[in-house]
């Protein structure tokens, strides 16, 4: 077979050296009743045939390069400079594993050190790990971390209701058998959901001696950005209550808005996918996780530190591994080992080449396009846009017809992938659509969407 190099002759020679006769003899220790079951799989393909099959599967999809796309909701279509993939494709990077042997892993290690540095720069925090699986699991781990940091004495965690619904679901999954209460994220009315500052007050009112943490999205799932000055007050209140403030961020938004580090967050998590990682139907993405230096020993995941070698040259190693499962086993800060290193590398390359200026341009383009689209839709009869609160690149639209209906028509008649149906996330929000624009949406596409919505919304 293709990726097995042995010839028949070599196989014979190897068996001879081992001292057995047939390859089957190597499996004598497998209980006979179970040995060599048939594998009912489709017959093998050559590379060419596999390519044909995979190309056919890929072509059975409509992708966002073909149709204008206004979906966001946690996964964003951004421009990825060609240089990112060119470098990611270097075999020395992508066919290595966890850099346990630093002498032959300085490439990965230094890049991860740079990644940590950039995440600190973006978030305004002091220390970052070298990635977690994705934004949602990073949040779950941040909650567990907050529980540990409050010594397990505070079983309550307050979740802002407009955190990504799937993130909240993941947190629930992680803590389902622990002695933890997740509160604050459900049971709100439409008009309450429309007033994030009101929600903030409500949640602050629930802070107490039982509370381990308050989790704030920035921007929230509906695109809105809470005022940093107001969040500074929140941080004070959280800290006065002896709890921790966790922020869930979109890293592109942080190119514009005051970073959580400067308004008092203790742990910052987020989805790093917008930083040079393709949509890829939802994964692999990049969990971001940063905190204060004081909390570093409770941070889960790999951390790279600077040191020197025998000859005094600067070098990098995995450090603080006594937090980790391979050393501490059941007492580790987390079970994570394989992370998403290559995605972190992608983000590092992306942030390097975009730089301070380019990233700001991207964020500003996202912002301007979304606001232009919001303004245009606001002028359409039958549509209402939530514009009273500052937003980044997503916003809510109340639609004159059911969202799935609108999306179907957009798809079939206009070649447009419409917005996210908020009714899926919360029945209170049904009849509302979440629209997103990035630098990838041209004005032409925006005008086409507006025109389509106008036509679809017009009374028959």
């Amino acid at each position: 077979m293709r990726f097995i190099p042995h010839t028949e002759e070599e196989r014979r020679e190897m068996l001879r050296v081992i001292g057995v006769e047939r390859i089957e003899d190597l499996f004598a220790d497998v209980p006979e009743a179970y040995r060599f079951p048939p594998l009912n799989l489709p017959p093998p393909l050559t590379e060419l045939e596999a390519r044909w099959e995979l190309e056919a599967l890929a072509e059975a999809n409509t992708h966002t390069g073909q149709y204008a796309c206004f979906l966001g909701a946690g996964a964003y279509r951004h421009f990825i400079p060609a240089v990112v993939d060119e470098l990611l494709r270097r075999g020395e990077f992508y066919t290595a594993y966890t850099p346990y042997q630093p002498e032959v892993s300085q490439g990965t290690l230094q890049a991860m050190f740079e990644f940590q540095s950039m995440i600190c720069a973006l978030t305004g925090m002091e220390v970052s790990n070298a990635s977690h699986y994705d934004g949602s699991s990073a949040l779950a781990e941040a909650v567990l971390m907050a529980l540990r940091l409050t010594r397990g004495e505070r079983p309550k965690v307050l979740l802002f209701p407009t955190i990504h619904p799937e993130y909240r679901a993941v947190v629930r999954t992680y803590v389902q058998h622990l002695d933890v209460r997740l509160e604050g994220d459900t049971g709100w009315t439409l008009s309450q959901l429309r007033q994030p500052l009101g929600l903030l007050e409500e949640l602050e009112a629930r802070l107490d001696a039982e509370t381990a943490a308050l989790v704030i999205p920035y921007p929230d799932f509906l695109g809105r950005v809470l005022p940093p000055a107001r969040l500074r007050e929140t941080a004070d209140r959280v800290h006065q209550a002896g709890a921790l403030l966790i922020a869930v961020v979109n890293p592109i938004a942080l190119a514009l808005f005051e970073p959580p580090g400067s308004w008092g967050a203790d742990i910052v998590v987020g989805e790093g996918q917008p930083l040079g990682i393709p949509l890829s139907f939802g994964g692999p993405y990049l969990g971001i996780m940063a905190t204060r230096m004081a909390f570093v020993r409770q941070l889960p995941g790999r951390i790279v530190g600077e040191t020197v070698d025998l000859e005094g040259r600067r070098g990098y190693v995995l450090t603080l591994s006594t937090r980790e499962q391979h050393i501490r086993r059941e007492k580790a800060t987390s079970n994570i080992t394989t992370n998403v290193g290559l995605m972190a590398l992608a983000a590092t390359i992306y942030l390097s080449v975009m730089g301070k200026h380019g990233l700001r341009q991207v964020a500003a383009l996202c912002y301007h396009k979304a606001h232009y689209l919001a303004e245009r839709i606001a002028s359409l009869p039958g549509y209402e846009v939530w514009r009273e609160h500052p937003f980044f690149h997503e916003f809510v639209v109340r639609t004159p017809r059911p969202v799935p209906e609108i999306n179907r028509i957009l798809y079939e008649d206009y070649q447009i992938l419409g917005g996210y149906d908020l009714g899926q996330a919360d029945p209170e929000l049904s009849g509302h659509m979440l629209l997103c624009t990035t630098e990838m949406n041209t004005r032409e596409e925006i005008e086409a969407l507006v025109e389509a919505l106008e036509e679809i919304g017009a009374p028959a």
Partner: protein, 492 residues
């Protein structure tokens, strides 16, 4: 020459990629919301290319040479996988597109689920978990949910974990709120049945089994151990990290495993990415299938018009433990694993046969050079002791010296039950010539240990850096770049 940090190339005002000017009217930013500085590097594209190219050259991957890292299955990653994962029809799909617009992607996930079911002998598979460890967590939560549904949730709080297990096993159990009980290994490297028997009571949630275990051995007590645990009402979690030994050889599902995770980045050739991403799909038998994390892909009979063109959609297992992540798992990794499985089909058995052949062959070559703590037929990997009697040389020294011979070191100091462990997993993609060369290097290192131990103890000598001071790193805790007062941009 050490490579500067990318920050050290930065020159204020230098530009990398630039973006178009806005093509829409601009909206003022809200007041009081904006950040002041954004301390990212300011470098040009060529700086970035040279920097990361040079960094890559300081790395060792499977594409560079033999990487016998035990427990990690560092097999060759076919290049076709990389091309397929980059097809725009896959890479440019938004996770929230309507199922109707992503039937190709859903078909791929559905069939991958089916393949994994068949390979492991299970009733259902969820592709959701992001890695093996998350698969473990999911599986353990499933076990807990099962007990809970039977009213035993509060009672069954003990997870039995062999002492040879990977660290993720106890860590995952603890995250799920269970108490970990260590089960020692017997003298043949199997689960010690007496010790196990003692712990088998009504507080047992389950037993975590890695088979072949981390010694590379097929557990001879497996059938009995499973029966013991099942009899006391516990369930069996299978750590499938070592499935590369078993494809077409035996099916864990058939042997009584209730739930098991796969590591697509090991067994199914998806690249390890310098630490990830992987994927840790979790498989379950009939009993646990309803608890799988969701969503999973199924055929929507209602929307299927022609039987040969099923309509695929996401569904939720009846009693699912919930989501373990947003969206639908590491789809990019699934593409690679799917491609790989399609290229082998039923001949995956040959993969496992060759993996086991390679391990036994290499073990045969090394047996006389280094102590072998559990010397019997191994499966896809084996463990030796990194000692040369009468010399101060340790496993770590041997590992580092192998670097000078052009090899990646094996896993060292794991499993914990073997002192000076060197855990060697050659995988099936390595040729006899490579194994011979590795054995020869090991022979020469043993000789050097006797004749010039310093040479071994101070290795590597030819790597981009010498041994690094890990203690200093942990003490100094320099974990990010902090700009110096006087910037002096580096050359590209």
């Amino acid at each position: 020459m050490p490579e500067p940090l990318i920050f050290e190339y930065s020159v204020p005002g230098r530009r990398g990629v630039e973006m178009p000017e806005p093509d829409v009217p601009q909206t003022p930013f809200p007041e009081g919301f904006l950040r002041e500085d954004l301390p990212l590097p300011e470098v040009s594209e060529v700086d970035v290319v040279r920097h990361f190219l040079r960094l890559s050259q300081m790395n060792f991957g499977v594409d560079k040479g033999f990487y016998p890292l035990g427990s990690c299955t560092m097999k060759y990653n076919p290049k076709i996988n990389e091309e397929m994962a980059r097809l725009p029809g896959f890479a440019q799909l938004h996770p929230y597109q309507d199922p109707e617009t992503v039937q190709g992607a859903l078909a791929l996930m559905y069939h991958l689920q089916e393949f994994l079911k068949e390979i492991g002998g299970f009733a259902a598979v969820s592709l959701q978990p992001a890695a093996g460890a998350q698969g473990e967590l999911a599986g353990i939560l499933m076990i807990r949910a099962y007990h809970q549904d039977r009213g035993e949730g509060k009672k069954r709080i003990k997870m039995l974990v062999p002492d040879s297990a990977h660290g993720t096993n106890p860590a995952s159990s603890a995250m799920a709120g269970l108490r970990v009980v260590n089960i020692p290994s017997d003298r043949r490297g199997n689960i010690d049945l007496d010790a196990l028997r003692k712990e088998c009571d009504e507080t047992v949630a389950g037993l975590m089994v890695t088979n072949p275990n981390t010694l590379g051995l097929f557990d001879e007590n497996l059938v009995e151990a499973i029966e013991l645990v099942h009899r006391c009402g516990g369930l069996i979690y299978g750590d499938g990290a070592n499935m590369n030994a078993l494809m077409g050889i035996c099916k864990p599902g058939a042997m009584g495993f209730d739930v098991m995770h796969y590591n697509l980045h090991k067994t199914f050739s998806t690249p390890h990415g310098g630490g990830g991403p992987g994927a840790g799909p979790v498989a379950a038998n009939e009993r646990l299938a309803p608890y799988l994390p969701g969503p999973i892909v199924a055929i929507d009979q209602e929307r299927t018009v022609r039987p040969d063109e099923p309509f695929y959609t996401f569904v939720w297992p009846e009693r699912s433990i919930g989501r373990v992540r947003a969206f639908h798992g590491h789809f990019g990794v699934f593409i690679r694993a799917y491609t790989y499985i399609r290229m082998y089909g039923p001949r995956l058995r040959e993969v496992s046969e060759a993996a086991v052949l390679n391990a036994n062959y290499l073990l045969a070559l090394l047996r006389d050079l280094y102590p072998v703590p559990y010397d019997r037929l191994c499966k896809h990997e084996f463990v030796i002791m990194g000692k040369v009697s009468g010399t101060p040389v340790r496993a770590l020294d041997i590992s580092k010296r192998l670097i000078d011979y052009g090899f990646h070191p094996p896993t060292n100091y794991f499993p914990l039950i073997v002192p000076e462990a060197l855990m060697i997993e050659p995988t099936e993609t390595e040729s006899k010539a490579t194994l011979d060369a590795f054995a020869e290097a090991m022979r020469r290192i043993a000789e050097e240990a006797r004749q010039d131990p310093q040479r071994v103890q101070q290795a590597p000598h030819t790597a981009p850096v010498r041994r690094l001071d890990e203690v200093r790193a942990a003490r100094a805790l320099v974990l990010r770049y902090i700009p110096t007062a006087e910037p002096h941009p580096a050359q590209a």
